[in-house]
């Protein structure tokens, strides 16, 4: 049982970090970023290149992933999303743009980094083993701690910095924020960059544990969508909760339902659909986003 909880927590931390970036972008611009998973994969490959190919320390790779993705996010917002949002009649049109960007990143990743699964050497060797009740490798503990610190840092930033406050105002009510003198364009761009940066950071963190390959992007986006749906779209606490809940659901579900074999995920997904039908706004969301 302890093992299941530990697994759930570890999974939850990485999920929550992915969901945070997605929900930030959604809350600021009402854009469902289909390319989020690809950004995460891109971040992973940046860290891989820095660490495995250039032989630099892990932390350098991690920072570089964050920076590269941050810049990429800012550019994507400024040159692609902004003009489209300004001119489209229905805001869902951004979904096509996001999907196009996802395809594009897939192609770029394939050409730049190749088709193979990649990974970097273990950062820390060894396994923590408490009498076989809890077995967890040290590197996972490290990644878990890093992920939690990133989440805490993000919350602090949103709560106490000027930029963070402006972005929260923007997320609450775009029009009101504009009237209050918040530079909507500027903070949308910063927000998108921050969201992309988080995606890059997760990619960098996870490349040391699970490795990375070009196919992980699409499914990662879909999983992240599910998390923010569980928690409530556009709500930061919701994304964190959603991440941990999905992590726990998988951990517990996989253990309990293992005997039923092939239907484990079917059950998880059906439960999710039923949950959302009963509580459409998720755990903490505002109704109708």
């Amino acid at each position: 049982m302890e093992q299941i909880l530990v697994n759930g927590l570890y999974l939850g931390a990485q999920y929550a970090l992915i969901a945070l970036g997605l929900t930030l972008i959604f809350s600021l611009m009402n854009v469902l970023n289909f390319a989020h998973g690809q950004m995460y994969v891109f971040g992973g490959f940046v860290t891989y290149t820095v660490v495995a190919q250039l032989g630099l320390p892990f932390i350098v790779g991690l920072l570089l992933s964050a920076v590269v993705l941050g810049v990429m996010g800012a550019l994507i917002e400024k040159f692609l999303f902004r003009p489209v949002i300004a001119r489209s009649k229905r805001e869902e049109s951004t979904m096509l743009l996001a999907a196009g960007i996802a395809f594009f990143l897939d192609a770029v990743i394939l050409l730049l980094f190749g088709e193979k699964q990649r990974g970097i050497p273990k950062i820390v060797d060894g396994v923590f083993n408490w009498d076989f009740r809890i077995v967890i490798p040290y590197d996972r503990i490290l990644i878990f701690v890093l992920a939690i610190s990133a989440i805490v840092a993000f919350i602090m930033y949103m709560q106490y910095s000027k930029t963070g406050r402006a972005m929260r105002a923007l997320a609450q009510d775009r029009v009101a924020a504009e009237l209050m003198g918040v530079d909507v364009k500027y903070y949308s761009m910063i927000g998108f960059a921050l969201g992309a940066m988080l995606a890059g950071l997760v990619g960098g963190l996870l490349v040391s544990i699970t490795g990375i390959n070009l196919g992980m992007g699409g499914p990662a986006s879909i999983k992240a969508f599910m998390m923010i749906m569980i928690g409530g779209a556009g709500v930061i606490s919701g994304a964190i909760a959603g991440g941990f809940i999905l992590g726990m659901m998988e951990s517990v579900g996989l253990t309990l339902l293992a005997v039923y074999g092939d239907i484990t995920y079917l059950v998880i997904f059906v439960m999710l659909m039923i949950f959302l039908s009963i509580r459409p706004q998720g755990l903490m969301g505002k109704p109708w986003g």
Binding site: K89, R90, M95
Partner: protein
Amino acid sequence: MNTKKWLLTLVFLLIVLVGVPWAINASGRWDFYYTLTSVALLSIASAGVWLTFYIGRINIGQGAYTLIGGYASAILVTQLGVNFWLTLPLAGLACAIISVFIGLPILRLRGVYFAMVTLVLTEVARLTALALPITNGAKGIVSIPLPAELSLFGLTIIPDFATLENPKLAFYIAAVIMMVLCYAALYRIVNSRLGHLCRSLQQNEELSASIGVNTAYLRVIAYSISSFMGGVAGASFVSISQSIYPSTFQVVDSVNFMLNCFLGGLGYVLGPMLGTLMLYFGWDLLFTMGKYQLLIYSSLIILLIVLLPNGILSLPLFNKRGGGPK
């Protein structure tokens, strides 16, 4: 419809039923038959997605219904020996009925919430197909016979495809006819009072209810029509590939159906048809680009959406006569 529209429809029919086969014959590009058949069938499924857009719902779950339709037809043909042509409406009907049960709870959701639930729905359909015995699980259903003869009172209406010299052409003709019927129905829906009602849902559900529209009922109706189209398209595909697997239609397909609608234009009945043609045919034509295929393809999509965020049909070229969306 006025005379001019009838005439244009006639011209369109002549082009797709006579002109295209002639052009293919003349150029020798026989492979385009399959490509165009696919476009026709996929645009039927996309038309369904478009209809759900029309009532204000983003539907990323059409892949589930194409899969269900495909399996329904495959099971009826292989296990009960039903004529394929009869399984087409039956597959559509099966999807429509299932969609009522799924739609009743989930159609209460809006915006991205509905979109996400439908996205999960596609995966649920795939996993269900993997788990059920009747779908033959992971091994799929293979060696499905070609469409058999359909006759009424001894009169052959559709010949047995297995005896045809060129089943490609036959599939093409069948697909195009289905597509035309589907879009005729869609056109009729949009340009009758039904279309007004759907648009009233899209624009303001509360007001719609307060003027007495049974919004829940109308939503379910629209959704089941949409699913019917998905089912028919899925069943037709299976008759071409003569096999179906849980992965025959997946999340990617659901997303593509949605993208087809966006690309063509959400405000135009023919939007999904044009979108499907561009996206599917585009990929096919770019096949000579080798490893840069996906790069060029995605760049073109991005370029298109940045230049024409309201779809290709929003080009002034297509709207000379003014009059807004038709």
